[in-house]
Amino acid sequence: MQTENYTITDSNLQQLLQALLSSGQKVVAPVRANNKVLFKEIKSASEVCSDHVQTTLSAKHLAFPRTEVLLQYKKTGKEVTINDFPFDAVPQTFLWGSRPCDAGGFAPLDGIFNWDSKDAIYNKRREQLTIISFSCTRHDDACFCTSMGGGPGNTAGSDMLITPAGNGTNIAEIITDKGKALFENYTSLFEEAMGADKEQYLTKIDKVFDTAEIKAKVEAFFESKVWKEQSARCMGCGACAYVCPACACFDIQDDKHGSKGSRLRCWDSCGFQLFTLHTSGHNPRETQARRWRQRVMHKFSYMPDRINVVGCSGCGRCSRACPADMNLAEHLEVIMKMEAEKI
């Protein structure tokens, strides 16, 4: 549908939040807890934190939780009764205060979880999720959303985008049907659009490269030793994958207590050595260099090729979270500048 613009005053915005809270819906917003900002379910509007650039963990856990039950089973003698995922128990959830790059992260997830076969569990959680994002008025040196086709005011992925427009007003853009439905419930809180250009209120992040260029470069230097040099300091943990809004890799593990138990899906990371280890002991991605190459190639080459969506929204979380300061934007810039390699 066509995005419709409205304005909403700061106080109406708080009222909108209060209305959602009092309607008993599950509302998740950025909350500051011992010097980290994380998306948490909130009970009152005062808990919301808004003076941060970005949360540590992304919002992907609202559609792709770090651990979820795919199915449960009960063994009685030789019989097994399996009970399916409780689709109708997935609560309606409102994500309040996400950034455009958080919302942009859902596109790659949607792509993977609906590549040929549809992951009904993921889709149900996505269907129940309404995303109300806030444009970015500030950024830090890890952000590179503009290079990934996004931007501080990008609407992709959000159902409604609020852009603070100074002196107590905000531009409210209604982007999707869900956004429309929300708008219709609370039209009284919105006024006509002021028609002001929202760019002026947004922070400026200069674009360094674009996804097509990156795709060509990384494919060209597949055999290069740049991967080894860049991944020299990578310690093989899972921090970058777990904070990333676009990483969808998961592991399936069973958990049992006596004759009952459940099959769980949980986050996994291509950085771990165990990720591709064969029982025979052979490991196609034995070294950290191959694992780092896989992470970059999968996001910038394989996903565009197979499901034509780039696996990165340029949020910079992986660079901030990495203990060894593996700055993705910096690494991509290095690859961009590489000419023919004298191997």
Binding site: K75, G77, H257, G258, S259, K260, S280, G281
Partner: protein, 667 residues
């Protein structure tokens, strides 16, 4: 292939009495992996074991859980049954429904539920058991016998006569132990020297026995079939090869006033001495604590007179090492001194003596050449009072047990006294007469009836000296606890037999458990009296608990027969419960991270370093490796290993975790 059979035993009424065995068997059928479950009155009986064998054949079982008594009792039995029926012995586990359930809980549903839980626990374990085969270990066919008393002598002779080597070590300068101190022995009153000395000589001359006297065990390492014994030969200051035992040095030695241990301090000996005339080896030893040369650096008279110059003052202690297949502990016992009894004079009265001292007085080779004379003034006592149970059966004194032999030797002492001093009066204060052996009761009746020894049933409360006489105040419980007072010339206390004061140290050196009285603990009071819990270490004689000579000799032969069984095969099969460091396909080879901190955890130094080399011979990785011969299966390294690279067969991580899961998830 988890096809498990569950067999619940009623054990007569022992389990059936409080546990509903049928219900346990019924609920076991529903356990995951169980294909057959039944219960039977006596599972360990022949029909019971045949029932198991038939079930294995009929249901093609791959694992067996027997719910019966303690695995410490019948685990070997049922494991043998299973292996005879084609199921590897180690696929059979026992649930302890008797000692840990039926005997200790009231009859009721809770007890039956607990029994079901215990069975489910072991079914969980068996599903993760792996077939194991015993480990073959070479046996060095030499036995080490510690202690040269009658027990040590008998064991050594039995083993040596069967053609195996024996190393007999004795702490004192000569073998013979307490028996050599006795005058005559009950019930036949034959003289102990006459029956013991030939055996001592036989030991000394036996080609298979290496006799090392005046020596103690320094340390024992290794395990059954492969012990390394380090023996400390205390310096005798004599060159045994040169010394002919002529005894010249002992007659010339100026310090003659040392109270002799052999005569229980009633007679004296010289600094360089032979403990008693029939000593084997009949060679002297210098007592460094009393020899003037060692104390003050002068004298050396014995060196001057020795015809063969055999004196070696600078001889050091020597540690010799022997590889040993099995060990027999025959260290015997001690008797409490008179100083242990404040109510009997704290050992102040010279004429209050112990039974062993009376033996020395009665012995022809004793300080009084067999005449019963008072140690204080040498007169022949007219009236002697013998006290049975002096210290024994007296919890207040910390000795709860009965010393077993004192009733018999007290009767003997009284009889010997009456034979030597016909007109003398002998009184015996006793609680009960324990004379249960062959011809034993007839012996005590003879003392009472023929030799008119006056037996008074009652305890003695106090003994004190009054103008040369010993006033013995007691009571006669057969006459309504009437107080009795006897003026005696001498009192003999039949003091309690106790363990040597260094028995606990020896037990810790051998890793053998000992009870609160420091007697060594046998593997099982009824079924394994001569064995200990440590494989390869056996017990003989009074070191296990007080016993008389016939029982000691029988037990000594028992221990010898156990060792002969062990030495009958060239290889020893050992429990395969050993730790194993995992191995994996290249390029990993093993998950061991090579930190080798497990080496200092292992008490048996069983963990070695193994270098994994590639074809070109370069070392790729150095990982740990467990020597199955040395590993005793304690599992401390398994719980220590941070990368879970070591696991122990029979108690593996998976088995223990599944056991706990099965126990706690009983939904």
């Amino acid at each position: 292939m988890a096809r498990i059979g569950v067999f619940i035993c009623h054990c007569g009424e022992n389990i059936g009495g409080t546990v509903d065995c049928n219900k346990v068997a019924k609920s076991a059928e529903s356990f995951d992996g169980v294909v057959f479950s039944t219960d039977y009155k006596y599972m360990c009986s022949d029909p019971g074991q045949t029932l198991i064998k038939q079930a294995i054949a009929e249901h093609k079982l791959t694992g067996v859980v027997v719910g019966a008594c303690s695995p410490r009792m019948h685990e070997p039995t049922f494991r043998k049954t299973c292996s005879e029926a084609g199921v590897n012995g180690y696929m059979c586990e026992m649930a302890n429904l008797r000692e840990h359930c039926s005997w200790v809980h009231e009859k009721g549903e809770a007890t039956t539920n607990k029994a079901t839980d215990l069975v489910r626990m072991l079914v969980g374990k068996v599903k993760n058991n792996k077939p194991l085969s015993p480990i073959k270990v070479p046996v060095s066919k030499t036995a080490l016998v510690i202690g040269g008393g009658i027990a040590g002598i008998q064991t050594s002779l039995d083993i040596a006569n069967a053609g195996h080597k024996v190393v007999l070590i004795e702490k004192q300068p000569s073998i013979g132990g307490h028996m050599s101190q006795l005058s005559e022995t009950f019930p036949t009153l034959d003289c102990s020297q006459c029956i013991l000395t030939p055996r001592m000589v036989e030991v000394a001359q036996h080609p298979n026995i290496e006799l090392i006297t005046y020596a103690e065990l320094e340390s024992l390492d290794g395990f059954i079939g492969n012990f390394k014994a380090r023996i400390r030969k205390k310096a005798k200051s004599i060159d045994e090869k040169l010394c002919t035992g002529c005894g010249m040095c002992t007659t010339k030695c100026p310090t003659k006033k040392i109270p002799g241990e052999f005569n229980e301090k009633l007679g004296n000996r010289t600094a360089i001495y032979v403990p008693f005339p029939q000593a084997v080896p009949n060679k002297p030893v210098i007592d460094k604590n009393n020899c003037t040369y060692y104390q003050k650096g002068k004298c050396r008279i014995c060196e001057k007179f020795c015809p063969t110059q055999a004196i070696r003052f600078d001889q050091p202690d020597e540690i010799v090492e022997r590889s040993i297949g099995a060990v027999v502990v025959a260290t015997g016992f001690e008797v409490k001194g008179t100083d242990f009894f404040p109510e009997y004079g704290y050992g102040k009265y010279a004429d209050v003596i112990t039974g062993l001292q009376f033996e020395r007085l009665a012995s022809a080779s004793g300080p009084t050449l067999g005449e019963i004379r008072r140690p204080s003034d040498g007169k022949i006592p007219e009236k002697i009072v013998f006290l049975a149970c002096a210290g024994s059966r007296d919890p207040a004194k910390g000795i709860k047990y009965c010393s077993k032999i004192c009733c018999m030797y007290t009767a003997k002492h009284a009889m010997l006294y009456k034979h030597k001093v016909h007109h003398g009066d002998a009184y015996v204060f006793y609680m009960d007469i324990r004379a249960a052996g062959k011809m034993y009761d007839e012996f005590t009746r003879r003392a009472i009836e023929e030799d008119e020894v006056k037996y008074i049933r009652g305890r003695v409360s106090r003994i004190y000296e009054k103008n040369g006489k010993l006033i013995v105040k007691g009571a006669d419980t057969l006459l309504g606890a009437m107080p009795v007072e006897v003026e005696a010339d001498m009192v003999v206390l039949a003091t309690a037999s106790v363990a040597h004061n260094d028995a606990a140290d020896l037990a810790q050196k051998l890793h053998v458990s000992y009870d609160e009285n420091n007697f060594f603990v046998e593997a099982h009071p009824k079924l394994k009296p001569v064995e200990t819990n440590t494989a390869g270490i056996f017990l003989a004689g009074a070191c296990q608990s007080p016993r008389d000579i016939p029982e000691t000799v029988a037990m000594a032969s028992g221990a010898a027969s156990k060792i002969l069984g062990l030495f009958s095969q060239n290889e020893l099969t050992r429990e395969p419960v050993v730790a194993v460091v995992n191995r994996a396909a290249p390029p990993l080879f093993s998950t061991c991270a090579g930190c080798f901190m497990c080496q200092s955890v292992c008490p048996y130094q069983a963990i070695e370093k193994e270098e994994i080399k590639n074809r070109a011979g370069e070392t790729i990785k150095t990982v740990a490796k467990v020597n199955p011969g040395l590993c005793q299966g304690c599992g401390t390294c398994v719980a220590f290993c941070r990368s879970k690279s070591i696991d122990i067969q029979g108690f593996s991580n998976e088995q223990m975790v599944e056991e706990v899961f099965a126990l706690l998830n009983n939904d």
